[in-house]
């Protein structure tokens, strides 16, 4: 039986993982994901791409809601800003895609300062309402600023070509998404073990105690907003390219709910949770579709006419069930399973 682990230095406490096997399986998974685009059909490939993009966006929200404890119901606003920043610069002004991606991160980050400022005074519910209001204001501003954004007409976006690489094929684009998602995941894991990440978690657990310990609340709350908006904006740009069309309707409010569902299902504040939650939430509608396909055609026809509705209902039900029966999320289930595996047949 394995004994407990003992750490002899602070560096040992905050290391990403002390297990060689975790590294081994992570790299194996990464390689599998990199090979997958060339081995599967177009439908599975598009699902894989969607999972990777969604994961990036949810990691962004996790920094704010999971790590810092600031609830945002308006993250879809940052998503749509990122998508528009990329589309406007690259399609309308013919800038290089790399600049477009940079803008897709920076523009939402700048806007997030505006949303973040009220958050310095507000807590909990009030902040949720402010961010919700913000996402509607953003939509309205984009529709009104016709000279910049083409208003309700939307912008068609092509697959980019950058750094001498051509991402126009589905496989290449999936690899680009894999790259971005991996980098984001690593960044989030490392933010967590840095000074800034510890400050975020201190604010989440007790902001008054955090301030007493010398954490500048204003500064770190704004940092949280900016990094979160930056990441979500990049995910928005990828989403726009994936849909090959950027419009306000393409980014419904449902995305905010979907991201929250991912965090809750996975386990708030945990990057592993985001990965597990994304897999479950994105693949759940597909699983239900397959299940209904076996059950009968009546249900299947309802599913095809009301995809959006069935999806939202599933998200709602999953959120309620997890909050009620497993508030720690899939990460909690995973930890229990691990403990069971190591200690069986003992309970502890």
């Amino acid at each position: 039986m394995r004994s407990g682990t003992f750490k002899e230095s602070y560096a040992g406490l905050i290391v990403l993982t002390d297990s060689g096997w975790v590294w081994f399986w992570s790299i194996a998974l990464l390689l599998l994901m990199a090979v997958m685009p060339f081995a599967v059909n177009a439908y599975v490939l598009s699902l894989q791409t969607l999972v990777l993009i969604t994961m990036t966006g949810a990691l962004g929200l996790n920094l704010l809601t999971g790590l810092t404890g600031l609830i945002s119901l308006g993250h879809v606003g940052f998503l749509v800003l990122g998508a528009y920043a990329y589309a406007v610069l690259v399609v309308k002004h013919h800038l290089p895609p790399l600049a477009g991606f940079a803008a897709a991160g920076i523009v939402p980050a700048l806007f997030s300062i505006i949303v973040g400022l009220p958050s310095l005074r507000l807590r909990g519910l009030y902040l949720a309402i402010t961010t919700l209001a913000f996402s509607y204001i953003i939509n309205s501003v984009i529709l009104e600023a016709r000279s910049i954004t083409d208003g309700a007409r939307g912008i068609a976006v092509l697959r980019p070509e950058m750094l001498g690489l051509d991402f126009s094929s589905d496989q290449a684009f999936a690899l680009l998404c894999l790259f971005v998602a991996t980098v984001t995941l690593l960044a989030c894991l490392n933010i967590r073990r840095s000074r800034v990440g510890r400050a975020f978690m201190a604010i989440r657990d007790n902001d008054i105690a955090a301030r007493a310990m010398g954490i500048n609340l204003q500064r770190f709350k704004l940092y949280a907003f900016m990094t979160s908006a930056f990441i979500t904006g990049i995910a928005g740009a990828l989403m726009g390219i994936y849909l090959s069309f950027v419009s306000v309707e393409g980014f419904p409010f449902l995305y905010s709910i979907e991201a929250l569902a991912i965090l809750i299902v996975g386990g708030l504040g945990s990057s592993l949770g985001v990965v597990l939650g994304t897999l479950l939430i994105v693949l759940l509608p597909e699983a239900v579709r397959i299940l209904f396909g076996h059950l009968g055609s009546g249900l299947e026809s309802m599913l095809s006419t009301g995809v959006h509705e069935v999806k939202s209902m599933l998200y709602g039900v999953v959120i309620i069930l997890f909050l009620r029966f497993e508030p720690r999320g899939l990460v909690g289930v995973w930890h229990d399973a691990k403990r069971l595996w190591v200690h069986w047949p003992l309970r502890y």
Binding site: I71, L122, A133, I257, M302, H308
Partner: protein, 288 residues
Amino acid sequence: VLAELIASGIAIGAIYGLVAMGFAFVYKATGLVNFAQGEMTMLVAYIAWTIATSISANPFIVAAGAIAAAVLIGLLIERVIMRPMLGEPIFSSVLVTVALAVILRSSITLIWDAYPHGFDLAGGKSIIRFGGAGLRGAQVAAIVTLLAATVAFYLFFRFSRIGVAMRAVALDDRTALLMGISASRVHAVAWAASSIIAGFAGVLFAMIYDLSPAMFQLGLKAFPATILGGLDSVVGSGFGGVLVGLVENLAGGYGGSGLKDVAGFIMIIIILMVRPFGLFGEREVLRV
């Protein structure tokens, strides 16, 4: 034009005010913001419409059916979904209402359909003139309902047994429990009452405009009203609604429809920056 804008602004504001009262009612009793308020409004309106078109268009039968449905919905939500969440962090409970909102919204589209329906009941569309401005019957009814609800709630909180109990729970639920007040009954009454007010607002709104799945936005529009009036002030929320309706209509009349849609949201942000506890709400004092 100004008189018209003001009159219809007050009318739509009255409806916002009713929905906002529903928010405040639940918040006062349970400390939660019910993000599904707009959806409950919409659900009751759809049920009332179904009664009116398939059973009887007699306004009294429709009203009785709608109130019964609203009470049932409120109690059901409280008992099945919200009560098991007691004792969990506020964050979780509020997210449950967000999830509930999504579920209700999509089930309405699945059960009924996604198209707008006209809803005419007992001359709700006939025009009544006041000086320079004409109002529809249902708009007048909305203003009258708001006034009646304001008076009724003032008396309710002031004199009725359960109203006083509700204030006690809002003030300090633990002490209230020690005094022998059943907090879960107070919660049940709050949910049922907020569902009834929401139902009234929904039916009136559907009569003035149309019945459509976009009606849930009424809940979003009522947020500024509750926040302006103070989240914990039921009567203040009604007043906040009228103010928001007026501002929105004037902004729409003079600044275009884009501004009209977001006027309320811009108001939220300004109010929260300046006076987060609202005009009539109690200032929240934070002690460590």
